[in-house]
Amino acid sequence: MKKLFAVSLTALFTFFLQSQSNIQIYGFVGDSVSGEKIISCAVLEAGSDSRAITNTNGNYTVHVPPGNVVLVFSAVGYEKKAYSFYASKDTQINMALLYVTTMKNIKIVAEKAEDIAQTTQMGAISIPVETIKKIPALLGETDVLKVLQLLPGVKPGMEGTSGFYVRGGTPDQNLILLDGTPLYNVSHLYGFFSVFNTDALNHVELIKGGFPARYGGRLSSVLEINMKDGNMKRFKVNANLGFISSNATIEGPIIKDKLSFVISARRSYIDLFYQPLYRAISFNQYAKQGYFFYDFNGKINYKPSKNDQISFSSYTGQDKFYNNIGPYRYLYDGVIYENLQKDELSWGNRLAALRWNHRINSRWFSTMLFNYTRYKYQVFKQVKESEEGDTGIVTTGSSQDFRSMVRDLGFKYEFDYSPNNKNAVKTGINVIYHRFSPGATAYSVQNPLSPKSIDSSYGSSMVRAVETGLFAENDMVINDRLKINYGLHYSQFFLKDKFYHSLQPRLSARYLIGKDWAIKASLVKMQQYIHLLTNSTIGLPTDLWVPSVKQLAPETSYQGSIGIAKTLVKKYLFSVETYYKHLQGVLDYKNGSSFLNTYEQWFQKVESGKGRSYGLEVFLQKKVGKTTGWVSYTLSKTDRQFAGINNGERFPFKYDSRHNISVVFTYDIDSKYSIAGTWIFATGNAFTLPNVRYQSIDQNGNMVEVESYQKRNQFRGADYHRMDVSLTRHYVKKYYTLNVNLGFYNLYSRKNPFYYNIGTDTYGNKVLYRVALFPVLPFFSFNFILK
């Protein structure tokens, strides 16, 4: 294996060693107002094939021959800018572009979208953050993940939730990176909102297939989210007042053009309104019931020199449900009694990342990253009574504390190397130290009548593992028509008693037919060593993150895709892709098992199997102009197969959906008004419901009636469709801008299925109930920007 890897690396580097005697022009592209980096900005030499795209740090390198050169900088939403100069030696050129909507009159200058036919990358879609903010969302809470669910090949889970299923994969197969650091759980309020505060974001990109070698560790998608670096020029305040929560973002320079910060905080306030109401209706002044979530993002960005950038970013967020009574005290017959009852459910992430971007020279660029990420889920119940009399305090009670946690400490070091115009190389290593605590319950009983208090715990013990990755890839121009991206990703997973490793080849190619039609194809192998155990009946965050262990091998996928892409009339990105994905080692709970049962080890409750997914995706997107949005259609089929489930036969994946359509548009009517709308349609999800009743015999010969599931996921729910609309009024003043947003979620009040259950009606007859969650819901929000 190592030999093969060495040979492949040698082959990889052979091409670009034949460097040409060109001059390197390199630099940074940023926003002219804020200094914020611009990711995926095209840098072209006019009249030649020389071109480059800025990386996630906003840096580029382009190779030009000596002489007069005109460089054209072009990014979606920004005014195109040309820069001419005489090139005689390697030169650094930093460029600032003007964002078009910052102009008083919304006159669109950058009418040209990026050229989709130029890149080898397949299945990648980036959505401008400004577009995400405009798209109507549940209760007016703008949400990155909800917008991603409208893309082809991406399917939402249940109504309203922000989990997403990419090409038949599960949510744990999505690598979600916030500033390069993975986040394990990205939802608030049981998934109705995501943890990302859009005001703090710079760039959002989703990759569904054709993964470059730099990505590893997940099978189905990479969602790369980059936070803003903070305004280097001046202070800016952005505040949103919403139905459920409010947030504020403050950014600005500490040292102009050198040191900047961005802080963003959000909190929900359902509990603040609900608690007084609950106390009143429960006639109990000690009752506390409610829910809240909060997020806090912070980032400090420092540019010590033209070639260096150091940033520290952090995130912390939590959700908490609570239903508590007390503590309350009362006097009875000379004794003071104190009672307390607690029921709490909480989950949340913490993340910290320290990054150093360094331009080594005109050809080499490096990124070093240290990061920490933690996800914790906790269920806590407590009952406590104490009596304070003459003989002292006597306490009785019990508590139950279920915890599940995953903690990662990571290091990543990556290099971008641009030897010539024909090759763009990326290589690097990463190491992650994982600590998994998949689920343990601590019981405690205090009883003065009992000879000894009980204090015990059940559940899975902590698992430590080290995951490493080594990769190299090259984006290579073979000739005018053919361009390929090839690479290798080698990963290793070290456990105390087991070692797994995997060599994953990646290949993507683009072939131009005519001037601007491109055929694209890709073949990739992916492997992941961590799994999410999800209850198949409901989508609560009862999910447990667990590693591959001796008893359960890693998950592997092989994905092939082929498609065509074209930029139509300079404004529309059009693509058609087909894919086939084979999955191995996917997990599911065994018949009748429950995540709450901590008497068993988690790996005894699950079964490993295989799956497949295939489909066709059509996508037409308009990113620039007064009207933006997209239309997408997905035809797909996904199934699973486990030896011990469904009698060993294939069954439809829970979120298998044959047809998915989404239409998204935003339209700027004038400088005062804009409207936006979405319409989505999806074939109903697959559910497992009993379908027959019969008599069953037990070991004693007793007959009992049972309801039987003949097949897993044999029942198909009703089709899902929904329309959301919103209208925004912009008040643009000299020192501030106020945007008032009004809209309707589920405009025609479609009762989309949330779940099904069999119950009885008022006459005692058995009926099937379809439970829908949200009827038409009006919403409003206020967005305030202090300039």
Binding site: N447, L449, S450, P451, K452, I454, S456, N535, S536, T537, I538, Y589, K590, N591, G592, S593, S594, L596, Y599, I645, N646, N647, L689, P690, N691, V692, R693, Y694, Q695, S696, I697, D698, Q699, M703, V704, V706, E707, S708, Y709, Q710, R712, Q714, F715, A718, S749, K751, I758, G764, N765, K766, V767, L768, Y769, R770, V771, A772, L773, F774, P775, V776
Partner: protein, 320 residues
């Protein structure tokens, strides 16, 4: 202002009605009208006549009660030879045959009834399992002064060990049922049994425990441990059951624990699988977090289970 208020109230009421009307009754046809299947159940024991129960399954939303099917015919084959055709017996209200069940004999049935396809099933009657030497070890927790309570308290350690023996070469499944035999069951709601609970688990790897936690406030049921044949490495399997029960009183006049009564069921393969799944099904009823259970049937083209069972019961007196 006055004219706006009724409108506002109307909007609020409409919104509340809208929000509260989220639940919708789906049409019956949506479940899928699964055609009825023949359901055949048999629990055969050595030395007894075969006694089948035959009925038809109903759609899960069908509100009718399940009744015995009386027009079926069951052909019984012993060693692949037809020995009897069994019809409905109006006295026993079942399909009671004349053939006596034997061990070490392969059986097959073919069941036909008007409106249904032919159902078949193959099974055998297991030989009686045995228990080898057993032991009971109870170590009590100490009280605050270092001694032990006389008649109450939790166990620091409690363990029952015995050898499960089966000399047959058949692929059986086993259920070990453990029941605590009390003179008077502590009833809860105050008094001695209020904080008491009993808890048992099987320490053998691969054994599935059910009902492993009983509060005295509820009616006490048996603890059950399901063991599939592939755990046997030969003809014997040492079994260890562990308890960390906390009895508030176990040798006082009111509540006295006399013995642990153990029943070993040896079941034929298909029958065991059916019982195991059924137990999982019952265990998960009403639990929102449980995965659905597919109940195994060894009746081809039908439902239910046909198989044999053999029992061995023994008691372990409670001593400390």
């Amino acid at each position: 202002m006055m004219t706006k208020r009724p409108l506002l109230i109307l909007i609020l009421v409409a919104a509340l009605v809208q929000i509260s009307s989220c639940t919708k009754v789906e049409k019956i046809e949506k479940v899928g009208l699964t055609p009825s299947s023949l359901t055949i159940n048999l629990r055969a024991t050595e030395g007894d006549a075969f006694d089948f129960s035959v009925s038809k399954s109903l759609n899960v939303l069908d509100n009718a009660s399940i009744k015995p099917l009386k027009n079926a015919k069951i052909k019984l084959y012993e060693n692949s030879v037809l020995v009897e055709t069994i019809v409905y017996n109006t006295i026993s209200q079942s399909y009671l045959g004349a053939t006596i069940a034997k061990t070490k004999t392969p059986y097959k049935i073919e069941c036909t009834a008007s409106g249904f396809g032919t159902c078949t099933s193959e099974f055998f009657v297991p030989e009686k399992p045995e228990n080898g030497a057993y032991s009971l070890k109870i170590v009590r927790n100490q009280n605050a002064s270092g001694g032990v309570f006389y008649d109450s308290g939790s166990f620091q350690e409690g363990q029952i060990s015995f050898i499960l023996k089966d000399n047959s070469k058949e692929a059986n499944g086993y259920i070990i049922s453990l029941k605590e035999n009390w003179t008077k069951h502590a009833s809860g709601g105050g008094g001695v049994g209020y904080y008491g609970y009993s808890s048992w688990e099987c320490l053998n790897q691969g054994v599935t425990s059910f009902g492993n936690y009983n509060f005295y406030s509820s009616a006490q049921s048996a603890f059950e441990f399901y063991i599939y044949d592939d755990l046997f490495s030969g003809k014997e399997l040492p079994i260890t059951l562990k308890t960390n029960s906390n009895y508030n009183s176990f040798i006082s006049g009111q509540d006295t624990l006399l013995s642990y009564d153990i029943t070993i069921y040896s079941l034929s393969d298909g029958y065991y699988r059916h019982c195991f799944n059924r137990k999982q099904y019952e265990n998960g009823k009403g639990d929102f977090f449980k995965e659905p259970v597919y109940i195994y049937s060894n009746v081809n083209n039908g439902l239910g289970a046909c198989g044999g069972v053999a029992l061995k019961t023994f008691s372990i007196p409670f001593k400390i």
